[in-house]
């Protein structure tokens, strides 16, 4: 592999040819702010927040889209770079609602983080602001286009991860906007509600409806687990607040799916909280189910199974295990069937 030597903030760095300045800086331990760049999506250099100073270059360079060159001298936080970033943030918030107190993304908003880092409190530009209606007509994704900074990550995620191409930029200039076809709502579009767009959005423009009002981002405990629906084996984080499951978030370290999920994995988890969940054992008495204690139910089961086994033999019992349950649960069901009931009558729905 061809290697390239350059210096970043005076530090000598060697990286493979073709590496972007942003990634080279990252490897050298310098973090560069970015809003439109994300690993796994194509680089478009749209937000310009990642600009750096390259000695000899005519202007500041978008580090997410520019490759390193031999002998390059890069400054990631020079005064002119800092000034440019402040100006970019100033321009971005000129037309961005500053309702951060109640914004769902608060705590995970990249725009807010960078404004904090660069000391941009309010915009020096006073002008027209968008007043788009907030789209809440589907049960999964809230779209507040007033908070959109046109970084385009949602457009690329929809196209490059899901391959659905539901949304794209439309209109021009101040009126530029990310829309589904005909600027209709998502429910009218070919959207598959995979929520990839929500998972990459750096601001409060796209948020999970199910999580609205359920907790601030910094209050959530995230537990990495494996999806309980199909056999792909996607990983994601379960978001928990005060012992209650409130949502699912992508975990980019997932070995198979990365950030990608589908409607079921990202939004179908709420069956866990369904009020129809069974919470206590039930025993049928005269055709009606009555609540029972665990001990009562398990005693009845043990007595009945013992009696039937004694009367009719072990093969009068059969167990149906579950392709939805864990390996450990399945192992115990077959062990119970074989070792305790004395039969190999155990199966699960692999064949049905």
């Amino acid at each position: 592999m061809e290697m390239v030597k350059l210096t970043i903030n005076g530090k000598e760095v060697e990286v493979p040819a073709g590496t972007t300045i942003l990634n080279a800086a990252e490897q050298a331990g310098f973090s560069i702010p970015r809003l439109c760049y994300m690993e796994g999506l194509s680089s478009v250099g749209a937000c310009r927040l990642c600009v750096v100073e390259v000695k000899g270059a005519r202007a500041l360079v978008a580090s997410c889209a520019a490759a390193v060159a031999p002998g390059m001298e890069v400054q990631t936080h020079s005064p002119s770079v800092m000034e440019a970033r402040r100006m970019i943030l100033d321009l971005l918030i000129a037309n961005h609602p500053l309702d951060c107190l109640t914004c769902e993304k608060s705590g995970e908003c990249s725009l807010a983080e960078y404004c904090y880092e660069y000391g941009v409190k309010e915009s020096t530009f006073k002008g027209e602001k968008h007043n788009y209606p907030i789209e809440t007509s589907n049960p999964f994704i809230v779209r507040d286009m007033n908070k959109c900074i046109l970084c385009g990550k949602c457009v690329r995620a929809c196209s490059e991860i899901t391959g659905q191409d539901t949304i794209d930029f439309a209109y021009r200039g101040f009126n530029s906007k990310v829309i589904p076809f005909y600027d209709e709502e998502l429910v009218e579009s070919n959207c598959v509600f995979c929520g990839q767009c929500v998972s990459v959005c750096p601001t409060g423009a796209l948020t999970e409806k199910q999580m609205a009002g359920k907790g601030r981002r910094w209050e959530l405990t995230k537990v990495k687990t494996t999806c309980p629906f199909c056999g792909t084996g996607c990983n994601f984080d379960l978001c928990v607040k005060d012992g209650k499951l409130i949502g699912v978030a992508s975990n980019p370290s997932a070995p198979v799916n990365g950030r990608a999920l589908c409607i079921k994995g990202r939004f179908g988890w709420d069956f866990v909280n369904n009020e129809k969940r069974l919470t206590t054992p039930l025993i049928k008495k005269e055709g009606k189910f009555e609540e029972a204690s665990w001990d009562e139910a398990l005693t009845l089961i043990a007595n009945s199974l013992k009696e039937i086994k004694n009367k009719y033999g072990p093969n009068s019992f059969a167990a149906l295990s579950s392709a939805r349950c864990t390996n450990e649960e399945n192992y115990l069901v077959q062990k119970f069937t074989r070792a305790v009931m004395g039969t190999n009558n155990v199966d699960h729905c692999a064949r049905t």
Binding site: W294, L298, I308, F336, N345, C349
Partner: protein, 523 residues
Amino acid sequence: MTNSINEITTDAQLMLLIGTNTTEAHPVIGYKMRQAKRNGAKLIVVDPRRIDLAEEADYWLRIKSGTDIPFLNGLMHIILKEGLHDKNFVETRCENFEALESTVKNYTPDYVSKLTGISEEDLYAVARLYATTDRAMIFYTLGITEHICGTQNVMSIANLAMLTGHLGRPGTGVNPIRGQNNVQGACDMGALPNVFSGYQPVINEEARKKFEKAWGVSLPDKVGLMIPQMFDAANSGEVKAMYILGENPVLTDPNSNHIRKGLDKLEFLVVQELFLTETAEYADVILPAASFAETNGTFTSTERRVQRVRKAIEPVPGQTNWQTIMAMSAKMGYPMEYNSPEEIWNEMASLSPAMAGINYERLEAKGMQWPCPSLDHPGTPCLHGTSFSRGKGLFQGIDHIPPQEMPDEEYPFLLNTGRILQHYNVTTPYSTGIQSMWSEEYSEFNPADAAKLGVETGDKIKVTSRRGSITARIKVTDRVPPGMLWMSFHYAESPTNAITSEGLDPITKTGEYKVCAVRIEKA
């Protein structure tokens, strides 16, 4: 899967999909297929329905339902005729080639085209493309297995992959994408009537002795009953008691009236479930189950990857399922003493050579793919590198086996069934958001048939087979060919499996969910 999911985007030059609606049933794998296609890989879709990926495919072959064997034989006929097979692979890695050769000789393009409805031109093009592409992956799901000839369908796919040397290397392989999150794992764990964990046969004395010693009991040496046989035995009175964990056969198994009758006849039924399901209604005792979010453990995905499941919240019923099974066992006089799922895994791994090298610590980062026989083994992303499990790959000469029940004058439409994107079997109807948008069945019906019957999208129809009648709304769409009705099985109000076929693959006992004959009327 013989190979791994990520090879779709990193290695495959061609994807041949047969009987898999991947973007709906396994969406994240479907995304990867689209990405690969858009990066230059070829995509061939063989499906009677115009599924989403058909729109992007280089070739979409609208195969007639139940003609997979002639189609695959037809491809092999052309490949052999044109000498495009991998002679070296066939000679060194396989045996019984003559049987295959003499069978596929009869499957001329002309004959196959008539049976399958696929043009000769497309048969030639696809056969050449698949055979001459270096790294080609075949994917299939239940469109292949849910036929009375499911086993033969799978063997035909294996024939094709072996004939062309598309096995044992990254970006190749025979890749069934498995349905449920842990259907692979449930098999691996021995929740099957013929094997212990790690596919060790119960009739093998050595294996049985090993488990007898570990478990301290004597174990039965006869193969047990498969699900359909269990319900037959319940109906005939041989099976008297059942324990059903996390399954709803009344809604998901074929010919559900037979299931209901069987459950009704049992003397004692225990169901452990999240919800009061149609199956649980028949129980004498219902035990509340804990969900995936409430337990520690592992699932094994379709690519044989064992991954951690981690407890995020306390179990809603107060205890997890493994604890319940232990308590039940203790009451029966056989205490199981595990303090955690990890201890259960460790016992299983110590008894199962294929998984012996996997433990929770090694699973932490990215999970592991079995076979993994020892702690220094890295796991196996791609199977059959230098030899097959049995040594040489065995070609089988396989002839066409038509579906058990085809449309006739009385029942003129073919009913095909499957999953839709938004639902997963019978759990997602308990998701408030999903259910609010997709709350009832919309069966797919071709515009030409709809015009004849005088029905439009949203109208209700009555669907009758020899097993019974159900009603459902329809969606008029050319996704289905004329003569076909396609239904999902997610909705209790339109219990599709009340009318599906009694036909079973005699080897696997898998139901023929994909083909039966029905009559359709306005409801």
